[in-house]
Each structure stands twice: as structure tokens, then as C-alpha cells.
Subunit: 318 residues, 2 copies
């Protein structure tokens, strides 16, 4: 019901009389008043003027489902939203929901995570209301060994969205780091549940520093606000991330990986660099020459032999 | 407590006086009597003779945890057991338990499954007390693309156990079918939960027709009892399957896949055959020449080109 009140106030943009509003929504004035109070408690600024009625002045800086849906241009990604104020990790909840047959494109979003995590169990610091912490459940018809492509896809989508909304150029450090001027600003995490020859579902996770202040960031990290010197609308950015992710996902499914890998190359900060890749117990050193069709990194050793690395930690050498 | 009573009766093998037993286990004669009754209700034949005491005559044909543990020679596989009378599918429960950090080697076993399943969502018919329906949770340090090897490993282990306990030769049809004289007798299902570069856990599932009668089998299927013309101890066979699985698993981890793939080749009914492999939308026809180090099937087309197939349905041509 509160969602409907917001929709109505948004559509009108002007004062709406309490009589009109309660009539339209089929409730008493008292019930309406109660809902308005609850919306205000959630942070919505709603002005009430005698004889004029109610008007929505501003929405709070929250990733409420109603806010995300309002103006969202996607077809299926983010059409079903699970919103949490504070959660252990959006990934954990997403995997649980995936097991319980949550729909393709379902979005799990939280204002804060107590156990936000990155690759290989590393921690992702997720302070409240500062960043975007989300997971998307996808059910693509691909083989398990093609799942790496979705990590790259998510990274490209975030770069495009940030460029569009904040006019900032992010870069991708293979396989899953998002950088800006060599400082870490975000990361992608991909988990899958699969049979040997069939993906049941994949969860793409994103942690992105948006409105964090410098003092709340660990060293070598930054946020969009720090770089742009102004706060960013998390809702607007999140909507754009969902849209870009969907566009790239459909591009990948309909036209194959070629066009999409070309996009990835443009944002890559790894290609062309001298790298050391630490992978399980060994490491490989050489020049990062290209990305393979399955998302693996191609490294040319000094012997001239090109090796494909499917996973690992990359250090860019000077 | 019932587990302890059984252990004691098993160890003694002779009549044990009620006084002695209740004293040893620190309970009253009344409490002991109640436990004995409950054991009888579960199908244990326990004789009580005045002035002599209790004696265990026989255990029921059930896969109770206490029965599996008694005499089990493994180090970690099957040391933690989740037993169910009837369950939707041991796979579903195993994946849930895997998410909740169940231990490496945990065994989920059921007397019947209402939604037993095979590869790609196919049904596995699982009538009560007739077969072995189990899932094992493993937490190996491997990459997701090596998971296929565990399907092969489980298949080999079942073949070895059946040979040992029933003196019957099973054959493996790539990737996951167990046959006897070209009739289907069992199947392996492997599911994984993973990051791109780290397996969180793998679940190996087995459905095996053991004491099914011909009339309860679908056509082209058989059971161990049908082939051997006598009932098989499901407990004994299950214990042997767990032991062989653990042995092969340690072999794979310590010595690599070579020795273990050699075992697989011996049981394979696919190698050397003319095959059609249906894989997603296409199919490949040729001669199945070998298995690759990651478990893929190598098929030589008539052009002479050898292709590796990682998944698919195989038809053996005449």
C-alpha cells in the first residue's frame, strides 16, 4: 500500500488532497495518515498542507525495492527484489534463494553486510548506506566451465554504468577487481551451483564503494564520492548497473562472446602488462597478451610459450 | 543409548544378563527394557531368556547409521551419517547440508526417495528398502572443471565394491551409467557448489538397484539380486562402496589421476565402441578412443579428427 501511495505522489508531483488519495486507494483518512507516518519514518519527506494535501518532497538515500523498481528499465534483472537493511552476505542469501528456485534475474540487495566477502573467502568491508552490495541470480543455459565469462560480464557492466552515471573511468584487473587510478573501488564474485554438464544457477555478486569517505576506507582503496568529490545517487547507479548487466547478458546469449570480450579488452588494465599470476601452489610470470574465449588470461612467458590461466591472483609488475 | 546396547550385544555375541547390561550402561532395568523394546520395534531380533539375559539374533535389513558404522573401515567418508526413511532426494538434502558446512565425507542415505533424480533432472526410481540411495559431501581442493573426475571415481568405486561383495562385473557407460550385461543397474550424479576458482563442496550421488525384483524394475533395467539370484546385504555393500570411494579419492589426491583413470578404462564399456554423443543441440559420431585427464571422452570422427566431449548422452552404435 505504501508503494502505491508513493507511486501516486510521484506521478502527480503536486499536492494531492487526502480525500482524493484515500478514495483512490480505497482506505480511510486515518489509515492513509498512518501509512504516511510510516513512510516518513522510513525517511521519505512528505509535506502535508491543510486544504492542499500531501506532496512528496524527497526520497531517502535507501535501496528500497520500491525505489529500485521506480524507473527501472530492465526486462527481468531486478524485477524481483529481496531487500535487507543488514545481512551477513548477499551471496549467502542468494545461494539459498537459488536453491529454492528463485526466479531468473532475482536481485538481493543490502544496505550493509556483516560478512561481505570477496574471492577465496576474503572480506569485503561493507559499511551501511555507503556502498552497493548486491547479488543477482541467473539461470543461463551454459556449461559450468563458461561461468567465468559472467564475472567479466558483470565487471564490464559496472564500468559502463559508472561511466554513464558518474562520468568516471573504471578499469578491470583480471579476473574480478574494479580499479580507478590503480586504487581498488569494487569487486565481482561469481558462485555457481551445477551438475557436471548443466548450470542450475549462477550468482553474480558486486561490492562497490560509492559514498564512502576517505577516512572509512582501507588504504589503497577509494570510492566514487572520493574521486568525484560529490555524493552519487546509489539508486540511479544501481538501476544503470542492472540495465547494463541485462543488456550485456542478452548480447552474450544472442551474439556470443566476441563483441562482449571486445568491450572487456577496452576496460582491462591487465592486458599489455607484465604480470605474475599466483595460482594454487605455483606462479606464472610473463606478459598478459589477451583474454581467451572462455575468460582465461593468456600469458606469454619469456620462453615465448603462451599459457592460459583460468584463475589466480594477479600482480602487475612495474 | 540404543547404539551402545547394540554395540555391547554385538561384542558379547552370547547372552548378557539384564543386570550386567543395565549396570554397564548406567541405567535402570526398566529403562533398559524400554530401549530393548524400541530396538525390537525397529526390526532387531533380541531374544530375552529368564536367568540368561538378552542376545542379539539378527539386525533388520535397514541402513541405520549404527549398522553402517559397525565394521566400517573408512577414515572420514561415512563417519557422519544422516539417515532418512523416506526423503525427496538425498541430493537435495546433501546440497543443503553442504551449504551449512557439513563435514567432509558426510553421508546422506535414505531407504526410499520420492523424487530421486539422475542427470539433467531425469527421474531415478527409488523403491523402499530395495536399493542404495546415497549422497556423499566432499570438500576437495580442486578447480571446478576437475569435478568430472569425481563422477568417474564414484563409478569405479561402485564397480570394485560390487565385484568384491557380489562377485559381479559391472560396466561403466560414459559418463555416469552403471550397467550389467548392457542393462542399467545404477547411476552416478555429481553436483557442485563453487566459486570460479574454488570448489566449496561437491556432492556425489548414487542410485543402485540391489534387491529389486524383476517385476518392480523398468524395462532394460536390472538389479544385483536379479543377476545373482540371491538377495544382497545392502549394509555390507554400502560399507564396501564407502571404503572403495575413500581409497580411490585418496589415490587421486596423492598420486594424481593416472592410476585411477587406468582403473576406469578397465570397467568402461564405452571405449572402443562406435558412439553417437548428443551434446546440447549437436551430436558427434565416431569411435570412442580414450578418456582424457579431466574425464572428457575422446571421440575420433571419420575424418580422423579427435574431439573431446565433456558432457552429453552417449548412444553405443552397433
Amino acid at each position: 500500500m505504501q508503494k502505491k501511495i508513493l507511486e501516486y505522489l510521484r506521478k502527480e508531483q503536486e499536492y494531492v488532497s487526502g480525500d482524493q488519495l484515500s478514495h483512490k486507494l480505497g482506505m480511510t483518512r486515518q489509515a492513509l495518515w498512518k501509512h504516511i507516518q510510516e513512510l516518513r519514518d522510513s525517511g521519505y519527506e512528505i509535506v502535508a498542507v491543510p486544504h492542499l494535501g500531501y506532496r512528496l518532497e524527497s526520497a531517502p538515500d535507501r535501496l528500497f525495492a520500491a525505489e529500485i523498481i521506480s524507473g527501472l528499465k530492465t526486462k527481468f534483472i531486478g524485477r524481483k527484489i529481496y531487500y535487507y537493511d543488514t545481512i551477513s552476505s548477499t551471496m549467502d542469501v542468494a545461494v539459498e534463494l537459488g536453491m529454492k528456485s528463485a526466479v531468473d534475474g532475482a536481485l538481493i540487495v543490502a544496505e550493509a553486510q556483516t560478512k561481505g566477502r570477496g574471492r577465496l573467502g576474503r572480506i569485503w568491508f561493507s559499511p551501511k548506506y555507503k556502498g552497493i552490495y548486491l547479488s543477482i541470480i541467473l539461470r543461463p543455459k551454459i556449461l559450468p566451465n563458461q561461468a567465468s565469462l559472467l564475472t567479466l560480464l558483470a565487471a564490464v557492466s559496472v564500468c559502463e554504468a559508472v561511466k554513464d552515471v558518474c562520468n568516471l573511468e573504471l578499469q578491470i584487473k583480471w579476473p574480478n577487481d574494479l580499479l580507478i587510478k590503480n586504487k581498488k573501488i569494487g569487486g565481482i564474485l561469481t558462485e555457481l551451483n551445477a551438475e557436471i554438464d548443466k548450470v542450475n544457477f549462477i550468482v553474480i555478486g558486486l561490492g562497490l564503494n560509492v559514498n564512502n569517505d576517505l577516512k572509512s576506507l582501507i588504504s589503497q582503496a577509494t570510492s566514487l564520492k572520493e574521486e568525484n568529490k560529490e555524493a552519487v545517487s546509489r539508486i540511479k547507479l544501481l538501476q544503470e548497473i542492472l540495465l547494463r548487466t541485462e543488456d550485456n547478458y542478452l548480447l552474450l546469449q544472442n551474439q556470443g562472446q566476441r563483441i562482449f570480450l571486445e568491450k572487456w579488452r577496452q576496460y582491462s588494465v591487465t592486458l599489455g602488462k607484465r604480470v605474475k599470476v599466483y595460482c594454487q601452489k605455483k606462479h606464472i610470470e610473463g606478459d598478459a597478451v589477451d583474454i581467451d574465449s572462455d575468460g582465461g588470461l593468456l600469458v606469454r612467458r619469456d620462453t615465448g610459450v603462451i599459457e592460459k590461466v583460468l584463475s589466480g591472483d594477479v600482480v602487475h609488475c612495474r
